[in-house]
């Protein structure tokens, strides 16, 4: 269960504060896969950061009874002068997993060959995301956060990601943010829309997608 208790979050912008969450009270059932829909700039990524605990709400609190991943494929935490192996080991240590086991998994999954022992800064962007996805999948969480990207790299690696991820979905669930309604319909059971500071929950992802389509087709109003 992830429980939102009166959660308020806004950002200062040049045009005043933009409200992302306006006193949201909500319970997310983490036995289901959850899809979150919203227009560009509605604050979906901020919502994920709040759920993961990276950012704090201005008011209210979020209670988590489950372990939550960092966004799948996030590579920002890798140090440029550390090798792929060291970066994977670092993540394992921080999250308290068996270092050797995680490193072995990432090594075979990312399939970087000799580059696994080269500094991360020498990696191409494709290699970087292979490492990042390998590390994300190697660590076991109750809930995985997915910000758009479900896989990366060439078709072969993407297929490997999908397959590995399907295996994780046996015991874990996802909270997924995406514009691609088809992806959400494939993976998610329930859904929520984020629009104008309101987070609205739907028992059925199809219903959430339908409501999202209504928001997309809403006529643009200038005040």
């Amino acid at each position: 269960m992830i429980v939102f208790e009166n959660v308020h979050k806004s950002y200062p912008t040049r045009l005043g504060r933009k409200v992302v969450l306006d006193s949201v009270n909500l319970v997310l059932d983490t036995t289901k896969n959850i899809g979150i829909l919203g227009l560009n700039g509605a604050g979906k990524s901020t919502l994920l950061r709040l759920i993961s605990g990276t950012e704090f709400p201005e008011r209210g609190r979020i209670r988590r009874g489950v372990s939550i991943s960092f966004p799948l494929g996030y590579s920002g935490c890798f140090a440029g002068n550390m090798t792929g192996r060291e970066n994977a080991a670092f993540l394992a240590r921080v999250y308290g997993f068996d270092v050797a086991q995680v490193v072995d998994f990432v090594e075979s999954f990312a399939d970087l060959g000799e580059y696994f022992d080269e500094p991360f800064k020498t990696y191409s962007s494709g290699m970087g995301s292979r490492l990042a996805f390998g590390a994300s999948i190697a660590l076991e969480f109750d809930v995985y956060l997915i910000d758009e990207a479900l896989s990366a790299g060439d078709a072969r690696f993407a297929a490997r990601c999908q397959a590995a991820f399907q295996q994780r979905l046996v015991n874990s669930r996802v909270i997924m943010v995406s514009h691609q309604t088809e992806t959400l319909l494939t993976y998610c059971d329930v859904g929520a829309t984020l629009h104008k500071g309101k987070l609205t929950y739907y028992d059925d992802i199809k219903q959430a997608v339908a409501c999202y389509n209504d928001i997309v087709n809403e006529p643009m109003l200038t005040n």
Binding site: G53, E55, F56, C77, Y95, P119
Partner: protein, 275 residues
């Protein structure tokens, strides 16, 4: 009723134990990582991290003891007098400056929820203090081997306490800086500028006892001056500076740490917002 209360107690205790274990784990991982990030890829990097401050100290020490031929106001060895001051000063300064970059320089790392700003600050402080203490140990060992018997501390416990207080002071100032740096760009430059007089005024180069009264009083507000006096009183056999106020040094470092932690608590909701 009673038993449910006991379970609740043991549950909170378990939660605390878990939180502390998590923090230890994260700090240990961070120290390893910072070691790599700080010292570079090669083994030479570690060596350089030790050699650089040593060269720095040696050049300054030689300059003052042999080139300028100044006489030490304390004991027989000018280089010994210099080193006790410089080591203490740099232990404080390096710690303050390095901890200051903990949040602003590690935003991507702080995106990982288990890693809190305080963890990064603590791990940076551990790494920097360990490096500098090791450098200091080597320097004084070198002096002893070179025949400077004075370089063996006469009051090791007092010296250890003085070092601990200096580390706490550096950590506190660094924590405060780290938070200001998030909200004020270029703060590190401003801070360096603000702090530069301390290099001249903290009693590295002179004994506070030699400063005439009205000014001596002003200088004694500087906690770092007390740290340096304290370190020297731990080294020298018969140096018991009348102006040294150990309580003041302890209190001001404790206060800086407390202010830093309070600022951290007060700004934690804003600290990690992407800028």
């Amino acid at each position: 009723m009673n038993s449910s209360r006991t379970t609740m107690h043991s549950q909170t205790r378990k939660a605390w134990a878990d939180a502390i274990r998590l923090q230890f784990r994260v700090i240990a991982a961070l120290v390893r990582r910072e070691t790599r990030a700080h010292f570079g890829e090669s083994r030479l990097g570690y060596l350089w991290a030790i050699i650089e401050p040593m060269l720095h100290l040696i050049v300054l020490g030689l300059l003052f003891s042999y080139v300028l031929k100044r006489h030490s106001p304390l004991g027989g060895s000018m280089i010994m007098f210099m080193l006790t001051g410089l080591m203490t000063y740099f232990l404080f300064y390096k710690l303050a400056a390095y901890v200051a970059g903990a949040v602003a320089g590690n935003r991507s790392l702080l995106n990982l929820p288990p890693i809190k700003p305080l963890d990064v600050m603590i791990s940076r402080a551990i790494l920097e203090a360990a490096t500098y203490l090791f450098v200091g140990f080597l320097m004084f060992l070198g002096l002893v081997l070179a025949g400077h018997g004075e370089a063996i501390p006469r009051h090791p416990l007092s010296l250890a306490a003085a070092i601990a207080v200096t580390i706490a002071f550096g950590f506190g100032v660094g924590t405060i800086n780290a938070i200001i740096q998030v909200f004020v760009t270029n703060w590190s430059t401003i801070f360096g500028f603000l702090l530069s007089p301390l290099f001249l005024l903290s009693g590295l180069w002179f004994l506070p006892e030699s400063v005439p009264p009205p000014f001596r009083g002003y200088l004694l507000y500087n906690p770092l001056m007390h740290c340096i006096m304290w370190v020297r009183s731990g080294y020298y056999r018969n140096y018991d500076p009348p102006d040294l106020d150990r309580g003041y040094a302890v209190l001001s470092s404790a206060l800086t740490v407390a202010i830093g932690l309070m600022l951290l608590r007060a700004t934690r909701r804003k600290l990690l917002e992407p800028t």
